[in-house]
């Protein structure tokens, strides 16, 4: 993909703000390559004991890709929302490969990237669990699924989530309470009331 000029992304963000939801989907591929590149870079970095700091990464991407002088702070929320989705896919992809490796999944493959070793097994499993839970949640409550995606994979603040979802901050706070409770139930099937 051609590298996108920062003004291009800023324009798309403007469109999102103007109510063009399709523009948000257009953003995803634009952000994808950039994030994948820096995520890979980070994952093959030397400090294998650290988990990937996705939030810092996404914020960095925003600074690099978006013309911050011209962008409104609301643009940032939309950008971060798109980036959260990308980050979810990237991390799930890594996690799957990591987990497949750990479980010796299927045939022995020798060409597995070294870099996936840098994702701890525990981390990889958590990511897969979260991804599956979010997919289930999406079927019954797309907004809450989105919200959790943005919080967990993008590290958005409540304000940013509110802006990205087009609802009030208090609504977001409320929905997040329920979504987290639901997730806690999902991840702890033995929990009794």
């Amino acid at each position: 993909m051609e590298p996108q000029s920062s003004s291009g992304i800023t324009l798309l963000l403007r469109k999102v703000e103007g109510g063009d939801r399709a523009a948000l989907d257009e953003l995803v591929p634009l952000v994808y390559d950039h994030l994948r590149r820096i995520a890979h870079h980070r994952l093959i970095g030397e400090r294998s004991d650290h988990t990937l700091n996705t939030t810092a990464l996404i914020h960095e991407a925003y600074l690099e890709l978006v013309d911050t002088d011209r962008a409104h702070w609301k643009d940032k929320a939309h950008f971060l929302a798109a980036a959260s989705r990308v980050m979810r896919h990237l991390l799930v992809d890594y996690a799957r490969r990591r987990n497949a490796y750990k479980r010796g999944g299927g045939r022995v493959r020798v060409d597995l990237d070294d870099r996936i070793q840098h994702l701890s097994g525990e981390h990889a499993e958590a990511i897969e669990d979260l991804h599956e839970a979010l997919t289930r949640l999406e079927a019954i409550s797309p907004t809450q699924s989105r919200l959790l995606e943005q919080c967990y994979f993008g590290g958005l603040t409540l304000e940013e989530c509110a802006e990205a979802l087009g609802v009030s901050r208090s609504t977001v706070a409320r929905e997040l309470k329920l979504a987290r409770a639901w997730l806690a139930c999902e991840l702890n099937p033995d929990l009794v009331a």
Binding site: H50, T51, L52, N53, T54, T55, A56, H59, E60, L63, W73, E122, H123, A126, I127, D129, L130, A139, I140, S141, C151, Y152, F153, G154, G155, L156, T157, L158, E159, E160, A173, R174, K177, L178, R180, A181, W182, L183, A184, C185, L187, N188, L191, V192, A193
Partner: protein, 1129 residues
């Protein structure tokens, strides 16, 4: 769960979650009756909600930590509103609110008037939820009371904790006129003294608080106010964040995390040490004007706090004293354990630093403006000059290796004395001296004494150096060298054992051995045993050739071979560092020297090895001057350990593998030694000539990095192979010889001498060549008893002598060592027979030549190279005598062996021979072309070009076969590979000289085939180097065809009469018979029957046993000879 179900649950959850527990239970009870399943789900969700942090905490941590910590609200939302509580103008309790001071997440601050006492106070109204949550409220009140009980000048006084009628909590505290440190910082960094003073006050206030069990938790510039009297007050005690998670859930703003301690950012339990951290951050900022942990956003700041080391304050701002930097960095220890044990200790340190600073300031000021800088600057300049001078001085006079350090220490000692003297002098100037003063030491501190002391110190140093050097040389005391003590002979041969490698990196051992060998080889005090010699010794000991040469085996080798010592190295790993140690021991196992150096990481290993090796060389007894002139190993080899590892994988010098050398060069393209090794390896293999020449060029460009002698070897090779400037090459070799005139027994010197001789041979200056070969062999004689293999020089000498026509001397030269071999019961080396055969053939004594090659062939059936050489010799002998069928049969036999064993250059020679016999002797061009196609058809152009000077023979065959156009095309293609001209008619001037000779030779034959006789003459006559005879038959033929019979006769005669050692293989095997025949005919035509008879006789004798198909020519000659003899009577 279905979407419909979820849509039912969602509003119920939101409703229930807001209810008090009793109401909630009642509501759930009601729901349970109508829809028990729904109720169960809701209950479970509500429980999960209440325990969400506990249930999800570690999971959320795993997904990605920072976003679940208390920094959810972006700074943009923190703007204070004008009057959030609408209190201005109202009276609360006995406080009349007059204005807004500030506000934030922690509450809003108003200015008010205490109507009872008539003083200004600050009122802080706490967030409403604090008042509504009983637990929070309780905790807050407890802390606020403790804070109110604090009575300390550096802590803001709390007057009262009250509650409004609406139930909102507020605190009434002292109001100070002044500015906060935050406001002060907005104007830039503080003076060091000022910053320390403020930090000291803050530490004092905090110490008091900590003693009372209070932790502030939110020390930041905005919370430190400095009154107009300069007294610092800590604000907001007891208001600090108390429970991170509680705040997270409510989404509270906590402002900037920049001053938070790492443990705080992780939401861990914190103690008093978190205040130490925050104070450290504030102090850092006061000193430098910058925060130590910065970032574009909150998470970046947190990341920095947790894992990045701050830039040391002195780097951010130079005038910060070192002890204060240490203090700040100690406060900013990521691990709370690493910080001060308590505020009290910090206070003491800060106070001490302030005092030091105060006194430092005062003495600098006492010196008067300008003076200190003049004195310091002068001393710095002086020191710099002395340090600069030490190196060249040391090399010139061969000062001990520790001289530089000693000079540095002397200079460093002089400095404090200088300062004290300066102080004393100034003090004396300002206050006239008293008798009491004299009785103290003060009177000693004069400038004159300082100078005298300095001179004395350097004199002492010089004496120490002289004494050290003398003791070294005379073998007295600890500096005595091994050679001076007589424990090791000068120029002893030493064996370098394989490294004991205690690291996980198996390549490190060979790499270090390679480097150590390179360094030791530069020492004139010892000689490093060559790998070939050790391999031979191991063979004699019946050890496996690839056996690990551990110190024990190395000692055994040294003992058996009479070598002087063994060097054994060890590389070990200590944490991330390495230890390199090297021991020198006698063959009997006595430890002579042990040296050891450490490297902090792998990049320091080569440097450590260099130091170890240099120390070893010094202890052995190498002159200090020579030691100092040796460049460091990193320069001689490479500073890239990876490249060195690759290089050490390349095998012995004679059979280097190309791949690892290229690998080493890919890692370090300035690795001069590797370029040289690549060039030599390619040359030895006859591969990729263009790359070989490039490698020589690169090595030549980088030659300054090489050890001295290697440098000239590279220069010589470069001129020999690339520029073709043979006189430059000779002078480079002569420099090598001149470098060490006393010890010519060195193999490198010997090979330099040999190479000079070879170059003179190439320049056809046989007499000078002979001189140099004799010098090589003389050295061999001075070291009798050591079977050194200078066979090459011997054969070369024989060649020079034979070229001079001194056949008997040549024969004597070759036979001389045979008796020694016989006496020792050793087999005579095959080249001796080959050389004797060649010499006999040069004398046209083919009957004597044959037995040499037969013996060689029979004795060396096991060795394919020598056996095929012998067979090829017999083939040449048969061919020159016209026995072509036998020659062809033997040549085929040799070629089969050569083909099988990949002796490709020799195989190529064989194919060309077969073609030439058909062309020049039989005159069968079709057969010749057929041979080329069948024998060389499988070779690629690149491979054929790799044969370099041999290659032009191929196009020459095409030309002789009447295909000059094809010959031209082949030659042009060949020239282009060397960057030569594409135009095939140009002369090929860009070719390397050794290629140029045969290239011109081929071009001469092309011209001949095109009937351009003048062109051919000019090409042949321009061949001035290499092979003396080679152009002659072609030149003669050109004259002959041009009708210049006299010239043709003269050239033919020169060809058959000029002595030349290599003539059988250069030309005779296909040119001698036809030349004699043509000479006879030409004399006959010119009416010189005597000369004609002479050559007819020689021709008939030579070809007396020629093949039947050639016999008609012999019979014709014999008939004519008889006719002349009859006619002349």
């Amino acid at each position: 769960m279905s979407k419909e179900r979820w849509d039912e649950i969602r509003p119920l959850f939101f409703e229930l979650v807001e209810l008090e527990s009793e109401d909630r239970a009642a509501r759930l009870e009601a729901l349970s009756e109508s829809d028990p399943e729904l109720c169960r789900r809701l209950k479970r969700l509500l429980t999960a909600h209440e325990r969400a942090d506990e249930l999800l905490g570690s999971f959320e941590d795993l997904i990605s930590r920072p976003e679940f910590e208390p920094f959810r609200v972006s700074p943009e939302t923190q703007q204070p509103q004008s009057d959030p509580h609408g209190l201005i103008g109202r009276t609360i309790s006995h406080y009349e609110v007059t204005g807004l001071l500030g506000g934030g997440g922690m509450g809003v601050l108003y200015k008010a008037l205490d109507t009872q006492l008539g003083r200004a106070v600050a009122l802080k109204f706490l967030p409403p939820q604090w008042s509504s949550d009983a637990t929070l409220k309780e905790r807050f009140l407890r802390e606020a009371r403790a804070a109110a009980a604090l009575d300390h000048p550096n802590v803001c006084a709390i007057h009262e904790i009250g509650e409004t009628k609406e139930g909102q909590l507020f605190i009434a505290m002292a109001y100070y006129e002044g500015e906060t440190v935050r406001e002060r910082l907005a104007r830039g960094p503080l003076e060091v003294a000022e910053a320390l003073d403020l930090a000291s006050q803050a530490a004092s206030g905090l110490a008091a608080a900590h003693r009372a069990g209070l932790v502030h938790r939110d020390i930041k510039p905005a919370n430190l106010i400095v009154t107009e009297e300069g007294v610092l007050k800590i604000l907001d005690f007891g208001l600090a964040k108390t429970d991170e998670t509680a705040l997270t859930v409510s989404g509270m703003t906590l402002g900037t995390p920049a001053y938070m301690s790492p443990e705080q950012t992780r939401g861990e339990a914190v103690d008093a040490r978190t205040d130490l951290w925050s104070l450290g951050v504030v102090l850092y900022e006061m000193l430098t004007g910058q925060r130590p942990f910065r970032g574009g956003n909150l998470t970046a700041v947190i990341q920095a706090i947790r894992s990045e080391e701050p830039v040391p304050p002195r780097q951010a701002k130079g005038e910060v004293p070192a002890e204060i930097e240490a203090l700040v960095l100690r406060l900013l220890s990521k691990d709370p354990e690493g910080r001060y044990k308590g505020m009290g200790m910090l206070s003491a340190d800060l106070a001490a630093s302030s005092r030091v600073l105060g006194s430092a300031k005062s003495w600098l000021h006492r010196l008067g403006p300008g003076t200190p800088w003049l004195v310091l600057g002068g001393y710095a300049l002086f020191s710099w000059l002395v340090v600069l001078a030490t190196e060249p001085f040391g090399s010139l006079f061969g000062l001990p290796l520790w001289s530089e350090q000693a000079v540095l220490i002397a200079l460093a000692l002089g400095f404090p004395v200088l300062i004290v003297t300066a102080l004393a002098q100034t003090a004396r100037k300002s206050s006239p001296s008293t008798g009491e003063d004299r009785r103290r030491l003060g009177w000693l501190l004069t400038w004159r004494n300082w100078l005298a002391g300095g001179v004395g110190a350097f004199a002492l140093l010089a004496t120490a150096m002289a004494g050290y050097t003398a003791m070294r040389t005379w073998g007295v005391g600890p500096p005595a060298t091994l050679i001076a003590q007589g424990r090791l002979d000068a120029r002893s041969e030493v064996v370098v054992a394989d490294f004991a490698n205690q690291t996980r990196d198996s390549l490190l051992g060979p790499a270090l051995k390679t480097a150590l060998t390179i360094d030791l080889a530069q020492s004139p005090a010892i000689r490093v045993a060559r790998p070939r010699r050790i391999a031979a010794a191991l063979r004699r000991m019946e050890e496996a050739p690839g056996a690990r040469l551990d110190p024990a085996l190395a000692r055994e080798v040294a003992l058996r071979e009479g070598m002087g010592a063994v060097v054994a190295g060890t590389i070990g790993q200590v944490g991330s560092g390495y230890v390199v140690s090297v021991e020198l021991m006698s063959p009997q196992g006595e430890l002579l020297v042990a040296e050891r150096e450490a490297a902090a990481d792998s990049t320091g290993i080569i440097g450590a090895l260099d130091r170890v090796s240099k120390s070893l060389r010094e202890r052995v007894g190498e002159s200090l001057r020579s030691l100092r002139s040796t460049p460091p190993l990193e320069q001689v080899t490479t500073s890239n350990l990876g490249a060195l590892k690759r290089y050490s994988q390349t095998g012995s010098a004679t059979e280097r593998r190309i791949e690892p050398i290229e690998g080493a060069l890919a890692l370090d393209s300035s690795f001069a030694m590797a370029w040289n090794a690549l060039a030599v390896a390619l040359q030895n293999r006859g591969e990729d000539p263009a790359r070989m020449m490039e490698a020589y060029s690169r090595a030549f460009q980088l030659r300054d990095r090489l050890p001295e002698r290697e440098r000239y070897f590279v220069a010589a090779a470069y001129h020999r192979r690339v520029t073709g400037d043979l006189s430059e090459a000779i002078s480079a070799y002569e420099t090598i010889v001149a470098l060490d005139p006393g010890t010519e027994d060195d193999e490198l010197t010997a090979s330099a001498l040999n190479n000079i001789g070879v170059l003179y041979l190439n320049l056809l200056q046989n007499a000078r060549a002979q001189e140099f070969f004799e010098r090589v062999l003389e050295q061999r004689l001075t070291r009798s008893g050591r079977p050194l293999d200078y066979a090459n020089a011997r054969f070369n000498l024989a060649a020079a002598q034979a070229n001079l026509g001194r056949y008997d001397a040549a024969e004597e030269t070759l036979r001389e060592p045979m008796s020694r071999y016989v006496a020792r019961g050793q087999a005579i080396p095959p080249p001796v027979f080959g050389a004797l055969g060649t010499l006999a053939a040069a004398r046209h004594d083919y009957k004597s030549a044959e037995p040499y090659w037969r013996t060689m062939q029979d004795d060396w059936t096991e060795d394919v190279h020598w056996r095929s050489e012998a067979t090829a010799g017999l083939a040449a002998l048969a061919a020159v005598q016209g026995r072509l069928e036998e020659a062809e049969q033997r040549a085929e036999e040799a070629m089969a062996v050569q083909n099988e064993h990949d002796l490709r250059a020799r195989y190529f020679d064989g194919a060309i021979d077969l073609a030439m016999w058909n062309l020049l002797v039989r005159g069968d061009a079709d057969e010749a072309m057929q041979i080329l196609v069948t024998r060389l058809g499988d070779y690629s152009t690149a491979e054929l070009h790799g044969f370099l000077e041999r290659y032009p023979l191929l196009p020459a065959v095409y030309a002789m076969a009447g295909k000059p156009d094809q010959a031209r095309a082949l030659l042009a293609e060949f020239a282009a590979e060397f960057g030569g001209e594409a135009d095939s008619r140009a002369g090929g001037e860009n070719l390397p000289w050794q290629v140029a000779a045969s290239y011109r030779w081929a071009r001469g034959h092309v011209a001949l085939a095109e009937a351009d006789y003048e062109g051919a003459v000019s090409e042949f006559r321009r061949i001035e180097t290499g092979c003396l005879l080679c152009p002659l038959p072609g030149l003669a033929r050109a004259y002959d065809r041009a009708g210049r019979t006299d010239s043709a006769l003269a050239v033919y005669e020169r060809y058959v009469t000029t002595p030349s050692f290599w003539r059988l293989f250069d030309l005779d095997r296909f040119a001698l018979g036809p030349a004699l025949e043509r000479l006879a005919q030409l004399h006959d035509e010119r009416g010189d029957p005597d000369s004609a008879a002479n050559y007819y006789a020689r021709f008939v004798e030579l070809w007396s046993e020629a093949d039947p198909d050639l016999q008609p020519r012999v019979q014709a000659a014999r008939a004519r000879l008889e006719q002349i003899v009859t006619e002349r009577g």
